[in-house]
């Protein structure tokens, strides 16, 4: 059945009331909500960021120059400043911030998988009642303040903290270890914070995987461990991918955790952005960095998708 839609078309000052037929009418209207949302709240702000990234930094409010300038001689001047973009590639400070961030979030994603998958699998396998409790406990971490959780880690990991004193008491170490300020502490904090992003998608997919696939594998002589690798993991791959993308995207721009748990050398992209924006008041550089990072992440995904499709 073809749905008919009504549309007003303004032609030559006259409003015409016409009838249009579209085969995928409901699809069209459904698409409007996300489209409008994305245009207003994502594309438009992104465009502003994009514009600022090509401005010059000045001492003023706002602290950047206008790109477009309509002179008295009725000439539209467009002044694009590529200095920031060039310095991203020239200045090893920015490059190392990029690579640090990338390294940290890749490690975090991989470790989140190795911790999160067994957790999701465990929750998937327990009784229904325990399942609800465990899921609630996992989501509980979302309801406590992010900052409070990081501060608790700071006190746990500090030289006089609980972990050091336990290790000292057990005689495993002779002097307290300086955890805070290391990449390990940053990684630990990131895994701790982003683990639910891995657990929930993986759990959701595991729940959907038909139990009979596992049984068929057993039935055909496949041992449980091998079944896990040849059947369970491939069938839950979509959840693993979703979880990894979530953890990776959330951790790549992370600012608070490296700031609080990392040392001065843990220069990550998020921290550089913060410094440029608030300490140096260099909005243009901050925006260039954002755009650069975005392209850096999106382009590989885009190319990958194009390739898999063809």
């Amino acid at each position: 059945m073809k749905l008919k839609s009504l549309a007003f078309i303004i032609t030559g000052g006259k409003r015409k009331f016409i009838e249009m037929t579209r085969p995928h009418d409901s699809k069209f209207w459904m698409g409007i909500i996300p489209t409008v949302w994305i245009i207003f709240f994502f594309m438009f702000p992104l465009f502003i960021v994009f514009k600022i990234s090509f401005s010059e930094s000045i001492f003023a409010i706002p602290p950047f120059t206008e790109i477009f300038n309509f002179t008295k001689e009725h000439i539209l001047e467009i002044k694009l400043n590529f200095k920031n973009y060039i310095s991203i590639f020239r200045d090893s400070y920015y490059l190392s911030a990029f690579t640090n961030s990338l390294y940290l979030s890749i490690v975090t994603t991989i470790l989140c998988f190795f911790v999160g998958f067994p957790m999701a699998y465990g929750i998937h396998r327990v009784s229904d009642r325990l399942k609800t409790v465990l899921l609630l406990l996992v989501s509980l971490s979302f309801w406590t303040s992010f900052l409070v959780r990081i501060y608790s880690w700071m006190s746990l990991l500090s030289v006089n903290g609980a972990i050091n004193s336990i290790l000292l008491k057990l005689g495993l170490i002779s002097a307290p270890i300086q955890f805070i300020g290391t990449y390990y502490a940053v990684c630990l904090g990131m895994i701790f914070c982003y683990l639910p992003f891995m657990i929930f998608p993986v759990y959701a997919v595991l729940e959907k995987v038909d139990k009979s696939y596992i049984e068929v594998a057993y039935d055909l002589g496949c041992r449980p461990t091998k079944t896990f690798w040849t059947v369970t993991i491939p069938l839950s791959s979509s959840g693993i991918i979703t979880g990894s993308v979530l953890v990776f995207s959330a951790s790549i721009g992370e600012f608070v955790i490296p700031e609080l748990l990392g040392g001065a050398d843990a220069v990550t992209f998020g921290r550089v952005l913060w410094i440029e924006f608030f300490s140096n008041l260099d909005w243009t550089m901050a925006c260039s960095l954002s755009i650069g990072m975005m392209l850096f992440i999106i382009l590989p995904i885009f190319i990958f998708q194009k390739r898999t499709r063809s």
């Binding site: 068929v216 057993y218 039935d219």
Partner: protein, 381 residues
């Protein structure tokens, strides 16, 4: 029905041969959960090459029993022997048993070839042997050339064939089929029934089928077990179960039947006489065991065994009179619902030898019903 008689012949009636060694022995299997016992002390034997059916309505315990045979559930008590070996405590992956699932459960991330080869790979067979066997299986189910398809690219019937091929590939000692044809439409189901029996004959593997569809069970099986409430009510060849049910439950479960409550009034070596207030005259039945006089019994007559005439038949026993209330026209046959003088409704089926308009009997006609003594059975439970 024609096929049923064929299948009976093919196994030389191993289950009637006293010397025959049963191939699969199920001994006193019980399965209890916290508050329910879906399988209660079930015992039966299946002979090599048989096509055995477990028939019952949903919740009768047939699927649980099948899952116990496959090794997915552990029985609370009892033993299962296959070819003389006790497999009760073997995990599913070590049993010489393969099951075909109702949902087929073809691995969606594997091709048809990989699906069929999966079980053989677990046996660490060489690549050549696997390739050879997969080709053979695909030939058997007439799906050659589909090796590289993914399950999502197959139709329901094709999926069913691939699932069957995957189950057959390891040449197990026993194949379990869990409602294998339910997901197919009626026409395809009927075709597949015959095909399944042909394939089973070709490979010579023992099959146990679970189904709620009596037609399916009767067409395909050598013997069938009627299950109810976690127990087996009757085991026998389809013909015997249909013609000589051992209880009211089985009689009503398989096909349609007319039941009359009565008491035994005469007991002879070759027949009994039964008096029932629902029928005008006494009824003679030849197929009855030793029944004491005066015992309460149920006389059971299948609708197609009842004959109808407008004139009073020349019968001393086994006749009654009634008025046609309803005629259900099914094309090949018509079902007549006849109300007896006692108020009892009786069902009779007649083939439509004549076209609708020329029919001998019409609504509101008073007719005589009669049947032969050997065509009724006497039930005591």
């Amino acid at each position: 029905m024609a096929l049923a008689s064929q299948t009976i012949k093919r196994n030389m009636d191993a289950w009637q041969d006293i010397n025959a060694e049963p191939y699969i022995q199920v001994e006193g299997i019980t399965k209890s959960y916290d508050d329910v016992t879906p399988v209660k002390d079930i015992s039966f034997s299946v002979y090599k090459g048989e096509f055995f059916s477990l028939l019952g309505s949903s919740g009768c315990g047939k699927t649980t029993l099948l899952r116990i045979l496959a090794g997915f559930e552990k029985p609370t008590s009892g033993k299962i022997l296959i070819d003389g070996v006790d497999i009760t405590n073997l995990p599913a992956y070590k049993r010489p048993v393969n099951m075909m699932f109702q949902s087929y459960a073809l691995f969606p991330h594997m091709t048809v070839y990989q699906n069929i080869a999966f079980g053989l790979k677990q046996e660490r067979q060489s690549k050549n042997i696997i390739a050879e066997r997969v080709r053979e299986m695909l030939n058997l189910v007439q799906l050659s050339g589909y090796e590289d398809r993914k399950p999502e690219q197959l139709s329901g019937g094709q999926k069913q064939r691939v699932a069957l091929a995957r189950t057959l590939a390891k040449r197990p000692k026993l194949i379990l089929l869990d409602e294998p044809l339910t997901a197919l439409d009626k026409r395809l189901r009927e075709e597949t029934q015959f095909e399944l029996v042909n394939i089973q004959e070709k490979v010579g593997i023992t099959f146990i089928l679970v189904t709620h569809d009596q037609e399916e069970a009767m067409t395909m099986s050598t013997r069938m077990a009627i299950m109810d409430g976690g127990k087996i009510r009757q085991v026998g060849v389809p013909h015997d179960v249909y013609e000589f049910p051992n209880s009211r439950y089985v009689a009503q479960f398989i096909g349609s039947i007319n039941l009359f409550d009565g008491i035994v009034v005469e007991q002879e070596a070759d027949h009994v006489l039964i008096e029932t207030h629902e029928i005008d005259c006494r009824c003679q039945a030849t197929h009855a065991g030793a029944l004491p006089l005066g015992s309460n019994v149920t006389l059971a007559i299948r609708p197609e065994k009842i004959m109808i005439s407008l004139a009073k038949p020349d019968y001393q026993y086994n006749w009654t009179r009634g008025v046609i209330q309803e005629i259900a026209y099914l094309g090949d046959v018509s079902i007549y619902y006849i109300k007896l003088d006692s108020g009892k409704m009786v069902m009779a089926t007649l083939p439509n030898l004549l076209r609708l308009a020329d029919r001998t009997f019409q609504w509101e006609d008073t007719v005589y019903l009669f049947w032969r003594s050997e065509n009724s059975s006497v039930l005591t439970s």
